[in-house]
């Protein structure tokens, strides 16, 4: 038997006091407010950390954020890409380590940065508040600006994927034709060969009518209210493809007495961040911040039905841009379900519904990474617990693997499906044979991997509260 007598004093397996003693102090690095001046300091964080806008001429200095990394590797452990792609060195390298290397002159961004899918899981994992995804986003932007050949197939492909909204604007004018063309397997093969867009996936179908035209036709809001007002950020998918989600939002919010504004808007920028197209993202963000900022000034809160959109507005905008009002938009933007849960009594009416009378299946629910990062991963499961007769089962905390444009890239497709494998398996083991998620691309991946139809929680809420005679 060991003599713990004089050895336990240096026992390093527990690590608690070592960690306590050596843990770097201060430098909490997530921006938390402060005033933005153009091209200058964006935030003040209590520590001495001041990230500077990448676009302001000077380079963003995230080094102090890098210094608070104590190499615990929690971020690497949580990275779904590092898990399957042996050529991807993981968030710790992409973030703090690369940032430290970059302090030396002439150090280029390592091209492995293009392997990151921008799922932002590493952010949530880091106990030391190292601004990992902000580091990745800005490194990727720098890589694309300075090191990527603008004539390369990869650049062109990424630019097209990142600017899906532009394509959609054209495609949705002639939805049936576009659907027929894009669904054509020859076209898909050509896309793969020429552009590097995988032929394995079916393009999302365009709706016959966009949400915005439906909204216009309908004559805008049916409810007027001075107190309860939301500005809906629908994003491109709900406008062009999953229009039923946007309509569900309108009906549910009107049921609760909200006046809805649908401001002019562009893509949230998520696919652009993920592809390092920061100039494109900046242009979109500027329009969004201006229009949403105006709405907020008129008493509206901003609500999004896609968790990547709300993530962009809440976190990525203030991390990367410093337009006037960015912080205000960030602080006043909510996820659609979250907003109702905070401001309304949703639980009692849901509890009052006789779920067995509804035409609703059981669901296999997947929480998108970008909802997880916002702390919203449990909301759907916990709300629908109160809906009798409808079972909503969480299928686990793995990433779905598609991560927006990542899973559309020919060279990433296999990784994307490998990451998603755990989710597919859990979905198949779940009681429900219909999927549920907040994210339109996760939804594509869930459908692609299992063949299930996928609903948005708002659609379920619409069925439960709007089409019944329950009092809300």
């Amino acid at each position: 038997m060991s003599d713990g007598h004089d050895t336990h004093h240096t026992d390093d397996d527990c690590g608690c006091s070592d960690a306590e003693a050596t843990r770097p102090a201060g430098a909490g690095a997530v921006p938390d407010g402060g005033t933005a001046t153009d091209g200058g300091t964006a935030t003040e964080t209590g520590g001495d950390f001041e990230p500077v806008d990448v676009f302001g001429g000077e380079d963003m200095d995230l080094r102090p954020g890098a210094d608070s990394c104590y190499k615990c590797t929690s971020c690497d452990t949580s990275c779904p890409v590092a898990e399957v792609d042996d050529s991807f060195p993981g968030p710790k390298f992409q973030g703090p380590e690369q940032w430290r290397l970059k302090r030396k002159e002439d150090t280029e961004i390592d091209d492995s940065i293009t392997g990151c899918s921008n799922c932002m899981r590493c952010d949530g994992a880091c106990p030391s508040d190292v601004p990992l995804s902000q580091m990745h986003n800005s490194a990727r932007g720098e890589y694309v600006d300075n090191q990527m050949d603008k004539l390369s197939r990869e650049y062109v492909r990424n630019r097209i994927l990142a600017n899906y909204g532009t394509l959609a604007r054209v495609g949705s004018k002639v939805p049936r034709l576009t659907n027929a063309v894009m669904g054509n397997s020859l076209v898909q093969k050509v896309n793969e060969k020429v552009l590097g867009i995988t032929a394995e996936r079916d393009f999302p179908e365009f709706a016959d009518e966009t949400f915005r035209s439906w909204w216009k036709q309908r004559g805008g809001p049916k409810v007027q209210s001075e107190e309860k007002r939301i500005a809906y950020f629908h994003g491109d998918y709900a406008n062009y493809n999953t229009v039923e989600v946007a309509k569900a939002l309108v009906r549910v919010y009107e049921e609760f007495g909200y006046e809805i504004l649908v401001p002019d808007q562009r893509c949230s920028g998520t696919p652009m961040f993920a592809n390092g197209m920061l100039d494109d993202a900046r242009r979109s963000a500027k329009v969004n911040v201006e229009n949403l900022g105006d709405a907020i000034e008129n008493g509206y809160d901003v609500v999004a039905s896609c968790t990547s959109c709300s993530m962009a507005l809440r976190q990525e905008y203030p991390e990367l841009f410093d337009f006037e009002g960015t912080e205000t938009v960030s602080a006043n933007t909510y996820d659609a379900l979250e907003y109702l849960l905070v401001n309304e009594n949703v639980i009692d009416p849901v509890r009052a519904v006789d779920g067995d009378q509804l035409d609703l299946p059981d669901f296999a629910y997947h929480a998108p990474c970008h909802s997880r990062n916002q702390g919203l991963d449990r909301q759907a499961v916990e709300l629908f617990r109160h809906l009798d007769g409808v079972d909503v089962e969480d299928v686990g905390d793995s990433c779905s693997g598609i991560s927006g444009t990542y899973g559309w890239k020919e060279e990433k497709y296999d990784y994307s499906m490998e990451i998603g494998e755990e989710m597919f398996e859990h979905m198949e083991h779940a009681e429900g044979e219909t999927g549920m998620t907040e994210c339109p691309t996760c939804s594509m991946q869930m459908e692609h991997g299992t063949g299930y139809e996928i609903n948005h929680p708002l659609e379920v809420l619409e069925k439960a509260l709007v089409e019944t005679d329950v009092e809300v």
């Binding site: 070592d18 452990t77 905070v342």
Partner: protein, 425 residues
């Protein structure tokens, strides 16, 4: 409006999870809020109750943790809540984890071999670790991987031998089968084992691993690997490897990131879900509001600048110690971070620490001072708030790293804080 519950628990580590389970058992609706993933993911997954009660650290490890409670200094959380709370806390833990853990059948500490070749007294240990106990006299082979540098198997074997363990122990270092980057994450390797991936030459990972270990086996009847034998299906991996080697395979708890810690966290969150506890993780509690009596009315969660209120009748503070960020320290001294509760400390900063990493440092015991219901006390000796109860690392008076009592303190105080909060609700 706000998000409502009977009890809100702030903090999602072992203490917060225990408090939430304990309160939910009393039949109230609990909402658990946690800023980040907890230190469980870094912790060994071992549940230490009390290994070394005496502050000088001169005595041998305790055989029975309950025996040491009376030797602890006044104000130690075990003295405040009593040894029965520890017993009940461990029972609640046993209930939550089921047969994933061992040690529940006895009051005795087990001695578990660590990666540095020491024997650590602990009260509960994962089933995968059980065959490696130092009290077992079967001859042992320890196997480390070239890629996982924090376990030097030959050195650990040497140290265990020097410590006089009642068995022969040898160590070997081998290359992990398959083609992975030199610095591959342990989770990556664990999953390769779990899925039994193709490791080249038409052979699977486990097959090739067994082939590489076999020449080192000698007379060993058990083989210890660093704790990376799969994730959710560790038992399957272990059984398969044991079969292939003709020797019982076990895991040795490692430093961060720790798969036993991650597995434990996953299980605790499942148990919370089963108990109907609501959970919000990812955003910190940054503020609170009080009612006319000065009790806590609501806590405010910061979500990228938006302030989201959470209302309850009673609150549990389980934000951890200096590591979990529950206790902060600045030029004016230490204080509790969310509610600003008093953390007693010597005025003279020089008295905060002693020479030597594991000496009896005052700072190691930093934390809130409480009454026996675990309400943090102000400088007047009165509870700071009538409806706030503290649990885990944020409670002062224990030097958990030296005592080997961290998880036990979290379980005992979590149990009591959760129960008293539920009574208040």
């Amino acid at each position: 409006m706000a998000i409502e519950a009977d009890v809100v628990v702030v903090g999602g580590g072992l203490a917060g999870a225990t408090a939430a389970l304990s309160a939910a058992r009393e039949g109230v609706h609990v909402h658990l809020i946690s800023a980040k993933e907890s230190t469980l993911r870094q912790a060994s997954g071992l549940i230490d109750a009390l290994g070394y009660p005496d502050p000088d650290g001169r005595s041998p490890p305790l055989a029975n943790p309950y025996d040491g409670v009376d030797d602890l200094p006044d104000g130690h959380p075990y003295r405040v809540v009593g040894a029965d709370a520890l017993r009940e806390g461990l029972a609640l833990f046993d209930d939550a984890v089921g047969d994933r853990y061992r040690g529940g059948h006895t009051d005795r500490n087990a001695l578990v071999a660590t990666t540095s070749g020491r024997a650590k007294p602990t009260a509960r240990y994962p089933r995968s670790v059980a065959p490696g106990l130092v009290s077992d006299d079967r001859d042992t082979l320890l196997v480390g991987f070239e890629a996982a540098t924090d376990f030097d198997a030959p050195l650990a074997a040497e140290r265990l031998t020097a410590a006089g363990v009642p068995f022969d122990v040898a160590g070997a270092t081998i290359a992990f089968p398959g083609d992975y980057r030199a610095d591959a994450a342990v989770t990556r390797l664990a999953h390769a084992l779990e899925r039994d991936e193709d490791a080249g030459n038409g052979r699977s990972t486990r097959q090739r691993l067994a082939d590489r270990v076999r020449p080192h086996l000698g007379d060993a009847e058990r083989v210890g690997f660093p704790a990376m034998l799969g994730d959710a299906h560790v038992e399957e991996v272990r059984a398969d490897l044991s079969d292939r080697l003709g020797a019982e395979v076990f895991e040795i708890p490692t430093g961060p990131p720790s798969l036993p810690g991650i597995r434990l966290e996953d299980r605790l969150f499942e148990a919370l879900d089963e108990a109907g506890v609501s959970m919000t993780t990812g955003n910190p509690v940054v503020d609170y509001e009080t009612d006319a009596d000065g009790d806590i009315d609501r806590v405010i969660v910061d979500r990228n600048g938006a302030r989201i209120p959470y209302d309850a009748d009673a609150y549990v503070l389980a934000t951890g110690g200096l590591v979990g960020k529950g206790v902060e320290s600045d030029r004016d001294g230490p204080r509790e971070g969310v509610f600003g509760c008093r953390v007693p400390a010597p005025d003279d900063r020089m008295a905060w620490s002693e020479a030597g990493a594991f000496a009896d440092h005052a700072f190691a015991r930093f934390g809130v001072d409480t009454d026996e219901r675990l309400r943090p006390l102000g400088s007047d000796g009165e509870p700071e708030f009538g409806n706030l109860f503290a649990a885990g690392g944020v409670v002062g008076g224990a030097d958990v790293a030296r005592e080997k009592s961290a998880s036990g303190v979290s379980l005992a105080t979590g149990l009591v804080a959760g129960r008293t909060a539920a009574e208040e609700a």
